[in-house]
Symmetry: C2
């Protein structure tokens, strides 16, 4: 960087993240996190979930505030549409995870972002969840994410940003690979 | 049901769902849905996503209102905690999907629910997303969901409700099985 250049600032504290990487390499136990939500059924397909505490860095942590989410099915499913659907929450999680990654990678590569937007589309054949055809899966048949990025970088550098974000994305991993889920009744 | 019994009412229109199953069996094209979200980067790891339109039953559909979601990383990751994290959105999606299923299956089996609550915990070793150890996956190492259900049913019937909900859950499928995700830059 020459004296006349403005430092790149995407609002990501890369030094802190690189410091955290060193810290968890030295002390792997600090890297063990547990993310949580609680879900309370309201009526029909409507539920309310809250997110507040989590565990990490060897201790209980809390968010700045309690986050609350209404989830429901739409009126075309004979529900009341009191919130976005469960699968739309997954799409929000995936798009936001990749987008946070784009900002972090851009900061690390000293690329100034001006705007980043993504559309995400998940195709689903609802014969699966309705039990109409057991050969049809319940989840998405496929997901497509399309980015529009304005940045001080070449098209190839922008493509590389998005590719690196996928490599480090928690939700991209969760959606593209199997995860063990245990469901119990207490 | 005898004349003195109150009909089971969990707020789920099972007749409509069974009608939908028949309709999509007869007209499979109506079952092709596309769920969507758009994500706008704000600053750092903070983004805002909106959910409003979707496609299904052969036509464009819209939710009753536009849903908006702030997503961010917490302060322990040197972020501003302007919203729940992307992975917590996935937990909310999974817990709410299973809970809607419990209500629908209970209605179909004529089991009156009084209360349903779930806690969901996702374990994650953040050495993956920090790039500290490439042998550690980015996503959850495992997820545990614990239900507490008060209903007019035996413990075995309640367990069977939860098991059947897993069998028809879109998000349970998405998390436990791989899904193809294509990410492009336009």
């Amino acid at each position: 960087m020459t004296a006349t250049e403005t430092p790149v600032n995407n609002g990501v504290n890369v030094e802190a993240l690189l410091g955290a990487r060193e810290a968890v390499t030295a002390t792997p136990d600090a890297a063990k996190f547990e993310w949580r939500a609680t879900c309370e059924w309201q009526s029909g397909t409507h539920s309310n979930s809250t997110v507040e505490g989590f565990f990490g860095l060897g201790d209980e942590q809390t968010h700045r505030t309690r986050y609350s989410f209404d989830v429901d099915h739409p009126e075309v499913f004979a529900s009341e549409d009191n919130g976005a659907t469960p699968v739309e929450y997954v799409l929000v999680g995936l798009a936001s995870c990749l987008t946070a990654g784009v900002a972090a990678v851009a900061q690390n590569r000293e690329i100034q972002l001006r705007s980043v937007s993504a559309t995400i589309e998940g195709a689903m054949d609802i014969r699966g969840i309705l039990g109409a055809d057991t050969d049809v899966r319940n989840g998405f048949s496929g997901i497509k994410v399309t980015y529009k990025i304005d940045a001080d970088a070449t098209p190839a550098e922008i493509k590389a940003l998005v590719a690196q974000s996928q490599k480090r994305s928690a939700v991209y991993d969760i959606v593209t690979n199997p995860t063990d889920v245990r469901v119990e009744v207490s």
